[in-house]
């Protein structure tokens, strides 16, 4: 049985690897939040208010972030519109 356990064990992911994978994703996410400009929440609110004048949207459907790509700062807005507006 030990041999079987050993072979099966190889397939199951080691917990230390799981820990590292989870932390890599989490830390990247938390670091981007930490480096986000202070005006971002306010900007989000105001953009939401403008869009809400024209379409009915869910507050959570707007994602907004500032990233750096090729030496440029990129403001990224992501909005999912409702199906039948």
């Amino acid at each position: 049985m030990a041999l079987l356990d050993y072979l099966l064990g190889q397939r199951k992911k080691k917990s230390a690897n799981l820990a590292k994978d989870r932390l890599q994703i989490l830390l990247a996410h938390e670091r981007s939040d930490r480096n986000a400009p202070d005006y971002l929440p306010q900007l989000r609110e105001e953009i939401l208010a403008v869009i809400a004048k024209y379409v009915e949207i869910d507050q959570d459907k707007l994602q907004i972030s500032v990233d750096e790509a090729n030496g440029f700062e990129v403001l990224e807005l992501n909005l999912v519109l409702p199906e039948n507006h």
Binding site: A19, K20, E30
Partner: protein
């Protein structure tokens, strides 16, 4: 020129006070004049770990508030020359510390008292006490366990070190960061059950100062009120001695990272 070193972690119970006690003792054993300050107002413990709990008359808060002179509050260590402890207040709350007051005391330790190293033992968390402990730092020891919540909290503290210190606010060169990985168990790392030292360095992107092995000597030393670095023949003591030597610029190879291969002799007779 004197240096201010903060020992910090975010998470509690990872070994900040143990590290502060042994690190400051190790520096003093090397002949430097060292002051170690407990910033955990209301929950002081450094005095207990260093075995001077019955000699606290005046504390850090008394000095910050101008109720006592610095010389009255500094407790001279009985074992090691040139080592002084500044205890936290047990009765006051954390608002008793002000940035201006802490800055004044640190300046006095540097300029008038002539300390070479001022070690700031941070409380857990990211609130005022922890922020003040790191604010004046030139270097930081990030104490981390190879465990998910400790790594996450260390990353958070690194963000604060980089953004909310006196050095960052004044646009000076950044605080020098050193990783101290405590309670490391190479056998569990080898079994894939514990984050490895490489994993933690990779995740936090901090230079490794040293690894301390999980050791029963730490509890024994704290029971006796003596920093673990003073225990002869203890692996934890050797690890902290290495850490102090590396901090002072010596080339010391990393130890306690791999599983010790037991020889026939130790298999038969040893522990």
């Amino acid at each position: 020129m004197s240096r201010v070193i903060v020992v910090t972690s975010g998470k509690g119970g990872v070994g900040k006070t143990t590290t502060s006690a042994s690190f400051s003792t190790g520096l003093a054993l090397k002949g430097y004049k060292v002051a170690v300050i407990d910033f955990d107002v209301g929950l002081r413990n450094l005095d207990l770990i260093m075995g001077c709990e019955r000699r606290v008359v005046y504390d850090f808060v008394n000095v910050v508030q101008g109720e006592a002179k610095l010389q009255q509050a500094l407790i001279k260590d009985k074992r090691v020359d040139n080592l002084y402890i500044l205890a936290a207040s047990q009765t006051r709350d954390k608002d008793a510390l002000t940035q201006e007051g802490v800055g004044r005391v640190i300046e006095e330790l540097k300029e008038e008292a002539g300390f070479d190293y001022i070690v700031c033992d941070s409380p857990a968390g990211i609130e005022k006490g922890a922020q003040l402990a790191l604010y004046f730092a030139d270097e930081a020891l990030i104490v981390t366990n190879p465990e998910v919540s400790s790594v996450r909290d260390s990353d958070r503290i690194l963000g604060i070190l980089q953004a909310k210190s006196k050095r960052s606010e004044n646009g000076e060169s950044a605080i020098v960061e050193h990783l101290v990985l405590t309670r490391y168990n190479p056998a569990r790392v080898e079994a894939g059950e514990m984050l490895s030292v490489e994993d933690v360095i990779d995740l936090l992107n901090v230079k490794l100062l040293g690894v301390t092995p999980e050791s029963q000597d730490v509890l024994n030393a704290s029971n006796a009120g003596s920093p673990v670095i003073m225990e002869a023949n203890s692996l934890a003591a050797q690890a902290y001695t290495d850490i102090v030597n590396r901090f002072l610029g010596e080339e010391v190879e990393q130890r306690f990272i791999n599983v010790e291969k037991k020889g026939l002799f130790s298999k038969l007779f040893g522990k």
